[in-house]
Symmetry: D2
Subunit: 285 residues, 4 copies
């Protein structure tokens, strides 16, 4: 069944090379397909247009978001797009990204596959909901508790479904979705998790207890984390983008979000192709 | 709802200390509860009884299996018990095991909780079905492809749902269930997976490609593994117990089994308590 | 040959339990041995004495330093003691430390072994000299370049003896002595290095490049590290105690210091005993 | 000072592509330089010559060994060349090797640099001496104790300089030289050790005790390893090439060999260039 796309929202990584011409080309192609488009402020200014909107306002007004940039750019609007049930197509302008895996020369084949209703290009992704100090945050990749650069090792209490797991001594703790498993979590020795496995990763950052290994727990878990250490600089970081200072006894509650992100991927590349290319795995002879 | 147990099958680790008196005590207690019991050969001989049965024949004839031994003893009958839909209670006679987590002084409280129909003591566990050279095997922990001690590094082709993942150069590959994640897979840097997460672990053993990290894939995956190397001694090992020699181009197909094991755990200890105790994790102060 | 000790300097961890009585007992015992002692300020105040000195001034005025505390307390004066060629005896008041490995009930047997000239209790330890922004620092454990909690991954150029090694993308980099190898470096997957091996550890913290593994290089290496990233909060941390903010292109030069620390260990415990106890390794049956 | 080379011994990897023409070209070039050459049997037969010698006999009769092949080919004669104090030039016919790092188009520049007495191309490498069951073996890379594919975890007692380290439960143990640190040891999480650091690596293979991490010990250590497990198939493997079956209580004693190997490397590539290229590390922008 064909998908009906009337308006596309476009966000960009401002300093990407050739961003103006790629943007202009994209707008012309959308016009040919009789699809309207809304640009974020910075993108509008690149083309000397006046009607740009703040990045955060786009998802609520469009049927599809296109990101021209890297994974960081996509992460900045992923949770908003998911909340608005708007799919996201991530175009990488440089190196292949885990989220922005569509190269510029596959934009239109991907877009058309999506419009024609092909299912292979839609990859649903779970999000995390994190609550801390009365506020709620949504993350596509990860929720991270991390000590500051000059702080000493911190201690973090971890409860899953109200059962105490451990009082971890470490630099920090990563709670990642399968999507986030190839991000920061991978650097911290976490495993690679296939996108739609209903599971979360708990990966300690530089754990003092050597037997505290990365864990995979049910997606339906309610995770409660409490900072047990006083007097050190500690932050909660959401998708590597938003940071909140934490104090002793502060609690972070994490569970799966009620909504998902529809990520659009190129019909020319499946998840394992992406892994092989990004991680340099050998193919069969 | 009460569970009806008429006959219990008992298997033992023959050389465990005090096995005779533990066995005699167990039989007397079962008799008090008007539960019959069948012993495996070696257990019957310990008590100078004549009517022992081969270990493999017990699961099909009883309502519950009790294992007096270690995790290895339990693994030897787990797949048979699962196929017969017979629950298993694992009693450790020495160190706490991941599968035999009931100490001797908690046998009866565990048994009674189970009979009284309490659900907290029942932990369902997935099994793997592995097919190789026309035969089918079932495993509670893991399916391992491993090179011999003097063999050189081998190369293994891996496909998931018919998509090629990689041609792994390594000592071997572990495919583990969540239950098996705390076994051999953990020694090979695999993550700890909470028991009923619908996922499998792929953990390379001493991978030559340093970026080939442990992976978590869907429980519903069809895994196909092919030995690409000729002339080296290579084995398929099932639950660390049964070994099959593999030759070049031999294929192993792995997916989840159609049945599960009902593992009985002590009401006094949850999964995370077990992890904390086995791995020496600190508790909150 | 007997060692001549006229004055001992004492530093303490102020909030350690029973610190007053341990301190009083130590002073009486030193008096019996006709050894004078100088206390740091905070220790003097604990005993309502007036002639305490700043911690940093002690090493230059004494023949031996005794630390009553944990490894952190010892690290705070280790480099000063080493510069003054004054040996250090580390007494742990709680858990066994890698540096403070003498328990209170072994203080006098250790002290007497040292005075009597026994060599087994002397463990020479190398230090690092780090130069940054015109200042020079000395470290017993490690020199760490680390990003702030909310900073993104940083990039660090590494040169050894003027040869470029890599432009590492990571959370940070640890340069550790053998002594420091059981500290932060171990949490970051670095190897354990026997104390007097003439080598340094380079251990990346959460490396983005999965093949960037911990390295062991010659103790005689000149290491040059340059922060290549702009706009992120990055710190140089010395022995986990002193922090210096770094900006883009800032350079840190590291090599072995011209002097060593004489660490005094208990005659009842060798290095491998310490490892076995701290890390929970099994002994032969 | 010029080095005097009268005779070169040549060993080959027989099935390498174009081996005949490379061999013929090498012989002509040596002739031009008035250097004689001795071929191993299989190389002589490739060129239909009759006077080949067994590979093992060559090092004692020549002034320089040239290996046309991969690291495995070089390892097969490295210990013999080292015993005879004959330098070895390793030419890779396919992928760059850690030992055979000279590509075919750099053979003569490397050879001439060596003959002209340039020191940059000489890289001295330590060897291990292993004694087991009355026999003595020499290894350039590593001595490995490893269980067979279907064997269960084994237990290995480790002593260093007569001090007990641990009774390791694992698949095995690797004792590697710095040269061997980029081989099997690296796959087992061991660190990379710069070639001439006077140290050895102890790397456990799939350790059951998660806190048993790779260790770096002094090159002057006397290592004693004893197999504590009975009834399992266990092998001692030397440089990945020679295997010896071990039984319960068998002892392997390892220390540095009394001689070193002179490995010749290309003047165009230093050790860190090699690491960067083999491991795919990024260079500074």
């Amino acid at each position: 069944m064909k998908r009906k796309i009337e308006t596309v929202g476009i966000v960009i990584k401002p300093h990407a090379p050739n961003i103006e011409s790629i943007l202009r080309d994209l707008m012309q192609n959308l016009e040919k397909r009789r699809i309207g488009c809304l640009l974020e402020d910075v993108a509008a200014r690149k083309l000397l247009l006046k009607d740009g909107l703040p990045r955060e306002e786009l998802p609520a007004r469009v049927d599809l978001m296109i990101v021209l940039g890297g994974d960081g750019t996509l992460l900045s609007i992923a949770h908003l797009a998911a909340q608005s049930h708007v799919p996201v197509l991530g175009v990488n302008l440089g190196r292949l990204g885990f989220l922005t895996e569509v190269p510029t020369d596959e934009i239109y084949i991907t877009l058309d596959s999506f419009i024609q209703g092909k299912n292979g290009v839609l990859s649903p992704r779970r999000l995390l909901e994190a609550r801390c100090r009365g506020k709620t945050y949504y993350c596509l990749n990860d929720v991270v508790i991390n000590k500051g650069a000059v702080a000493r090792m911190i201690q973090i209490g971890i409860w899953i479904d109200d059962k105490e797991i451990a009082a971890l001594k470490a630099d920090g703790l990563i709670v990642a979705t399968p999507t986030g498993s190839t991000g920061y979590s991978l650097s911290a020795q976490g495993p690679i998790v296939q996108p739609y496995v209903p599971a979360l990763v708990l990966a300690p950052i530089c754990p003092h207890t050597l037997s505290f290994r990365p864990m995979i727990i049910s997606l339906n878990s309610r995770i409660r984390i409490q900072l047990l250490t006083a007097g050190e600089e500690v932050y909660l970081t959401l998708d590597g983008q938003r940071g909140i200072s934490l104090g002793k006894n502060d609690v972070v509650e994490i569970e799966k979000a009620a909504f998902e992100l529809s990520l659009i991927s190129s019909p020319k590349r499946n998840y394992f192709d992406l892994l092989k290319e990004k991680l340099g795995w050998a193919a069969t002879p």
